[in-house]
Subunit: 295 residues, 2 copies
DNA sequence: ATCCATACGATAGTATTTCTAATGCTTCGT
DNA sequence: ACGAAGCATTAGAAATACTATCGTATGGAT
């Protein structure tokens, strides 16, 4: 615990690089800096130690005796440190790519497409974390979050990769002939809504409708809602993107629609993402789409 | 040689300190920085590695598994580096204090006083390098140079520790009754002068005297001049400080004098001098004096 | 011998990194 | 519930490192 008063570590590294390379110019190359920078670092180290480490000999350089000794120790030390860091990196590289998103998005949009990615990159393990919680993106934890925002709250510099109408849908059985513009009448139908959220009420409020009777809302875990809607258990408010096929086949009907109201975009943790994460991101972006009512 | 792409070394050190101390606050103490600085460094490292190293546990922290492993390696690595640096430092500390100065100054001024310093600091080895060459002050080489400047060339911010008249002196035998103002007549006496210099001629030039006959100059190594002057072999141009006693005793007489013309000052190499060097400098400054003609 | 290519040295200005100060948040003990 | 202890976050200041440029010394080629 007395290595706390070491000379500036960068100058030690610079000197070690010089010792290894045999010349300032080459060392500078390896360190991705200019020769002048290395020269200064070594000078600073010599000053700090009060000992000459490098001597000019003709056109090149040579280590002094002290310099040679120090270089040996530095090389050994940095090598050990490097091994430690390398181990961490290997472990990190093998770690699965962890993605969080809402349950609905996972089941209705991502899962149907994910097979393609896994076929293309069998070496990458994906771990999906479908939850409506907003999870922190920390190092060693979740790598990517796919977040929803409606267009009222879109942040100017965030690039959405899925823009979609938001719709209220239900089976034709349940909806009857309500497909028209009478939004208020939707308050009479049973709603399905994710536990702990309040989408239905918000939706009415947004449209300036005050239901005459209390809404009839069935709360359930997010992953159960979509099947329940298809079964005709109720109606819900969701992204058109999740029901394109069902709508086309007439299995569900659209009771209301807000054009390009929903934005899904990608958030990554701080810093440069790992290679695997980048690969997944790239793939994800190729799947970007805009979903709105067919002509 | 692949430890060149290590993460920022300072953040590695910060993390290692945290691992060793068990808390950010204490680590910060040891590193002589604020807790915030350490926190930032560790965060940066986690970001860089893409791995969580430290976890908050209640009010304190705990290392993750990765963190613990890395900490072990870092400690080992830094320890080796530290040992290397420590060896250099020990060697440097034991190195003698090396001082360069002119031969005349060494023999006439410093040597008579040096015993006192060595009695006071027997643990410090002094190495004097009396030469009229201007030696470079590099780390690992000369620590201190005592340089002469005449008052025409004194640098404004350099602090002289010895200011002295410059005089032309010789034995009474040799000089006869020439003590007066007739400087031109000094050209008839034999001069003693350091090899490779041109003091005598310069002196006449400075005083605007053009000798009628060529000067009679005897070149010799610097250390031999003063004894030769005392022996009556010739006259020379030198600092009054070197002959205060001889003048007082009448063993030599002053043939000409320039009041406070000579300045000796100290020059040290770049950077903070070593402890031993500082000790010597301090002592040297206590010997500072101004030497001029007694009233 | 002179010129040229190579490599290090010095320095001023700029860019980057690191640190501090101030403040906020969470947890735990009383 | 309150206050103390300890980590997190931020903007701005300070310190450090780097680049660009020029200068100097050396050794080989014409």
């Amino acid at each position: 615990m007395d290595w706390l008063n070491l000379p500036p570590l960068n100058s030690l590294r610079a000197f070690a690089a010089v010792a290894g390379a045999g010349s300032y110019a080459e060392a500078a190359d390896h360190l991705n800096v200019t020769q002048a920078a290395v020269s200064q670092q070594v000078k600073a180290l010599e000053r700090r130690l009060g000992v000459a480490l490098v001597a000019r000999v003709g056109r090149g350089i040579e280590l002094t005796e002290s310099g040679a000794h120090l270089a040996r120790d530095l090389e050994a030390g940095f090598d050990i440190i490097n091994r430690g860091v390398a181990r961490i990196n290997e472990a990190a590289a093998a770690r699965p790519v962890q993605v969080t998103m809402s349950p609905a998005f996972a089941v209705e949009w991502l899962m149907p497409k994910i097979g393609e990615f896994q076929r293309a990159h069998p070496e990458i393990t994906l771990m999906l974390n479908p939850t409506s919680h907003v999870v922190d993106l920390r190092p060693g934890g979740i790598d990517i979050a796919i977040r929803y925002r409606d267009r009222r709250r879109v942040e100017p510099d965030s690039e959405a990769f899925l823009k979609t109408d938001m719709v209220v849908i239900g089976t034709p059985d349940l909806a009857g002939e309500r497909t028209g513009a009478d939004l208020a009448s939707l308050a009479e139908l049973p709603w399905l809504q994710e536990l702990g959220t309040n989408e239905a009420a918000d939706w009415f409020t947004y449209h300036g409708i005050v239901p005459k009777k209390p809404l009839q809302i069935n709360h359930m875990p997010g992953n159960l809602i979509m099947p329940a809607v298809r079964r005709g258990d109720g109606i819900t408010y969701t992204a058109r993107a999740f029901f394109v096929d069902d709508l086309a086949a007439g299995r569900v009907v659209e009771l209301a629609s807000e054009t390009l109201f929903g934005f899904y975009y990608i958030e990554t943790g701080p810093g440069e993402p790992r290679t695997d994460v980048m690969t997944f991101l790239k793939w994800l972006r190729t799947k970007a789409e805009v979903v709105t009512k067919p002509a």
